[in-house]
Symmetry: C2
Amino acid sequence: MLDPVARVRRFNRAVTSAVGALDTSFLGRGRPLGAARVLNAIGHGRSDVAEIRDYLGLDSGLTSRLLRSLEDEGLVETTVHENDARRRVVRLTRAGRREFAAYEALSNTQADGFLDRHAQREALLAAMDLVASALTLDRIALNEMDPRSDEARYCLGEYYAELGRRFKQGFDVSLSRDPDAKDMRRPRGTFVVAISDTLPIGCVGLKGTDHGYAEIKRLWVAPAARGLRLGRRLMDAAENAARELGIALLRLDTNSALAEAGQLYRRSGWSEIPRFNDDPYPDLFFEKRL
Amino acid sequence: MLDPVARVRRFNRAVTSAVGALDTSFLGRGRPLGAARVLNAIGHGRSDVAEIRDYLGLDSGLTSRLLRSLEDEGLVETTVHENDARRRVVRLTRAGRREFAAYEALSNTQADGFLDRHAQREALLAAMDLVASALTLDRIALNEMDPRSDEARYCLGEYYAELGRRFKQGFDVSLSRDPDAKDMRRPRGTFVVAISDTLPIGCVGLKGTDHGYAEIKRLWVAPAARGLRLGRRLMDAAENAARELGIALLRLDTNSALAEAGQLYRRSGWSEIPRFNDDPYPDLFFEKRL
DNA sequence: CATGATGCCTGACTTTAGTCAGGTATGTGT
DNA sequence: ACACATACCTGACTAAAGTCAGGCATCATG
């Protein structure tokens, strides 16, 4: 009766009919869907015509016409690109910003109303996060970012909080060997953040040392994105960066309380080695030759 | 950074762009979406023209034209309704059933492929179930059904399994006072199943007795549908049925391990009373005067 | 059995989305 | 300077979806 395929299909149907309703946020302001989508793409920071086209998957001619109709409404204005006069840059006018804000308000009200109708918001949100991550799996971007960026700091904060919950003795960053940000920037190392549609959902650090190896640090995947093999992808990204930087040997430390991490390392070519530092938290040590 | 509204909107975006891809099952057979939707509505058992129209939200003229095009393809045939010659009844021809089966196969393959791309299928499916239930909340049907029906038995099976997990001593139906099916059928009582798009996601029994009261039994809500206030709706349905049957007093027993159930009863006008039976499992007893 | 309501149909029309073939201006490499 | 590529645009077209006003047969009701 509860065939997995039936469950997926039920989800599809539920979502298809709900999306019709959710998408009324793009209607209801007397403008066809296409034009509204373009306006919103611009509002969300897409400025080059080609960028808008790619994002929305539109034909060049159609994009052009939709831009013209927004121009006629006085919502956008087009200028030539400063370095390349073939390209055009589109910006919202004051009226355009107002109209975009109205769409945003509609969307927010709608999302808010949806949340209000349900108890146990957090459980529902977590489920939505997981599904959204799964659906956009092949569009999750792994970006090298500064370890001091907002996105990186958010991930690290979640990572520390999780260690605090999972270690019997809790976790205090200041007792651990907190790597210097500059060790996790090129050319000494790097820091990779997984971003799914603007939300950071995972990270990993590659920390350069002066001992002939680099270390993998702070591998974290948001609970709502687990089971999507993102940990593996982050590790691959870190290893590739290490190869580019000419690093031949990687080490890492972890704790046996983080069983899924240990499994991941063993399965992807790491071998256990004796303790190589005096950090109080780890009790498992690995190394991998590239 | 992780505003709930932003998370809902991310979900909406993920789903809007994925649904196009997920639902390509309705394309790819050389037939416009509208006609494919009508064919599938008929395949799923909708036979009256008005029913099809309402289900798909189509204009009368458009529906008619789409039906005509399916007829021209030889996929459906139309007859007059036996009790009302103004109405038409649409049926799939042999070719229509073949074509419908092809759509079904496509959908199934697609859903299957989606599942294959992900580890931790069960977690993902559970999340999809929860979201689907939340989205279709106002379309969850509470149907009075025979307690021996497939749907009821599925719910009861899940209910017993859950008791087994949650009671320290486990749960064995045969030790409990398993109500006779006929006590949970009108006119002595009833059995209500919550159905969301064909999937049973909750149930409750109203069991008639000869002692001047009726009992509420087997209140269960699928884990993937909790937090949607479905328990409350099921209880309301059972109480309404009791009123219709002229029952003035309700009783129920439960176990303190089921904390959320106890809460629900207290919040909806039930008061605790002394033990009124010798069932070994319950340790909490309630009653409510209608 | 006349009257009005109901259920479905057809024809005539509009809007939206999308495709395709050029066209013009600008940039790049030799 | 030249050929060729690139970026965007316009015009001409099509397909699909949807709207609206009647039309016809049938049903319910006094």
